[in-house]
Symmetry: C2
Subunit: 353 residues, 2 copies
């Protein structure tokens, strides 16, 4: 493994290179996952697009057309949870990755890895959820593949969705484009997806059933772009939560972010569950929310556009970009104190998506 | 499961609907896999592109550009085998699916599912093989994703590659386009990939080491198109082998195919291994071959173009399309007898790719 550290001039943010085997945290939204990309996949693939700041989808110029392209594999456990299942999660997740580049989804693929012995009714339910989710988001599943592995070599099913989308002329959104003075918006309550999965998995009830927020955000982004054409950056805060998204954008844009923690919408049951489990809601995954970096002059219009949409009703302005402390996200707590907000190292919660 | 059989007017070619659980054969290139698509995925997804004849990649008109799009998950066991590994297999396989629509590959994605505890050196070797294969085929891996599952919930790693390609104006290739009078060409020796995997897995040596034929066919298809612009159909005979490809095209085009079995290039060690194991080489998977349906007038030019290319040196004309026995493939044996060539039901050999 010595030679995977040869990427010219690049240095790991944390010296974890001694890791000789894959750990669960490599699949999280934290530093371990980034290290795997930067130390292993980048040198192996040698692709400029991958070497750029991490983004939800890549934008390519193909035959004069601007295409967004993205892929995600889904291994969520359990397959069904309050608010959704692996099927709609996989469709919505890939649509959202396209939407975060400002792209209108055009078509999706579905690649299944099935475990021998899987109940056909389970697969049918998952496939129907995928078809319904695609229809709901006005897109289509146009190509697919099925592999089967022996009993014990998967658990139930895994699914990969890849997607292509069209990016309109003039739309330039990227994690490296946030600028001092930008306002930071989130489109609604955070933490619901992670807590929903956790509550099913742990068997712990938190008084009320918390449902995953899984939703397709293509339409929301279209409305947002109409109201605030100068959006600088968009991110869907999935693995690693809002904290990871903010830290990635702060690093990619070399700006500081001040987060007004009191303004972040955290539903009471999510706060209670996180308190009980010792988690920070900022680190918990979402599957139907976005964070937007918008020039101050368009922030109110952007907020109104988000709030007018069914998937953005709970939107709020939660922070500001500064030229102080580049690369660092600082939270102002309700009591007026400040703290540095970090990305998690690995994952608090494996198999969240 | 009752309602998955409601696809309007469609009837399964074989009444296997009583299957209530996934079996290994659903992942093969045979009838069980087709049934899964037709009885379950089609009604669930409701997509016209999927309902069309099965094809290696779908062609979409996007913003005035003709794009091919495809996906494949790879679960080959073992990860490394003579002639390649899961990494180059995944890159070449997706490039080939694009090439079978006449597309020039533009970009690929890579979605990994890793097992906790996987040796980082193994992942590194696979990723480097992917990077090298992409470079060899003049394409790029531009986006990716990594998930990790707990020990015992995968074996080593699975990888999905999806791809997009550009289809030139005037190129119209599809499994439903074969016409009576077309000549059938294969680009070289068949059966090598399947026998290579089988020999590693069974520990059986067949005198000489048979290597997988894994190779990217984009360049070969470009040469073929230049020599024979009227190619009607192309297929890479992977799971299910040459027999499955021929049967699918015969069915989709509603034509008969007469295969001159003596003309099919089967290397001696492949024939010996198949004889020993009771397999028909026509059913064994290939990963670097194509079968082409070309109008008679262009067949010799097509053959010459194939033979001039490093990946087509062993090309041969192996059959003819007829308007007799539509949907049926008939083999003429070296002794002058004829037999019906069928698709396998499931898979002789699971986890071949």
């Amino acid at each position: 493994m010595a030679d995977i550290n040869d990427a010219d001039g690049w240095t790991c943010p944390v010296p974890l290179r001694a890791e000789t085997h894959i750990v669960l945290g490599h699949g999280g939204g934290g530093l371990l996952g980034s290290e795997l990309v930067e130390c292993l996949f980048l040198p192996a693939f040698g692709t400029a697009e991958l070497a750029a700041a991490p983004r939800d989808s890549v934008v390519l110029e193909v035959g004069g057309v601007r295409l967004a392209f993205t892929t995600d594999s889904y291994v969520v456990n359990p397959l069904f949870f309050p608010g959704g299942c692996i099927g709609d999660l996989a469709v919505n997740g890939t649509i959202n990755d396209l939407a975060m580049s400002g792209a209108t989804p055009v078509a999706l693929s579905a690649g299944f890895i099935l475990e021998e012995g899987l109940d056909m009714a389970v697969l049918d339910r998952v496939a129907r959820a995928m078809g319904a989710a695609a229809k709901n988001a006005k897109t289509r599943l146009v190509t697919g593949d099925t592999k089967v592995v022996e009993r014990g070599h998967a658990d139930g099913l895994y699914v990969n969705t890849s997607g292509i989308g069209l990016v309109a002329a003039g739309v330039h959104i990227g994690p490296e484009r946030a600028r001092p003075g930008d306002r930071v918006l989130v489109s609604g309550a955070i933490g619901e997806h992670g807590v929903a999965i956790m509550s099913v998995r742990s068997g712990i009830e938190f008084g009320t059933t918390i449902r995953s927020d899984s939703a397709p955000l293509g339409g929301l982004v279209a409305e947002l772009l109409a109201a605030a054409p100068q959006i600088h950056a968009l991110r869907d805060p999935t693995r690693g939560g809002l904290a990871a998204s903010l830290c990635e954008i702060a690093a990619a844009s070399r700006v500081g972010i001040v987060l007004d923690e009191a303004a972040v919408p955290v539903p009471e049951p999510v706060a209670a569950a996180c308190g009980f489990l010792g988690l920070d809601p900022l680190h918990v995954a979402n599957e139907g929310k976005l964070v937007a970096f918008v020039p101050d002059a368009q922030a109110e219009a952007a907020l109104a556009a988000l709030r007018a949409h069914r998937y953005g009703a709970g939107a709020a302005i939660v922070g500001t970009v500064t030229d102080g402390h580049p690369g660092v996200v600082v939270g102002r707590t309700p009591l007026g104190a400040t703290r540095v907000i970090d990305r998690p190292l690995g994952e608090q919660l494996p198999r969240i998506c």
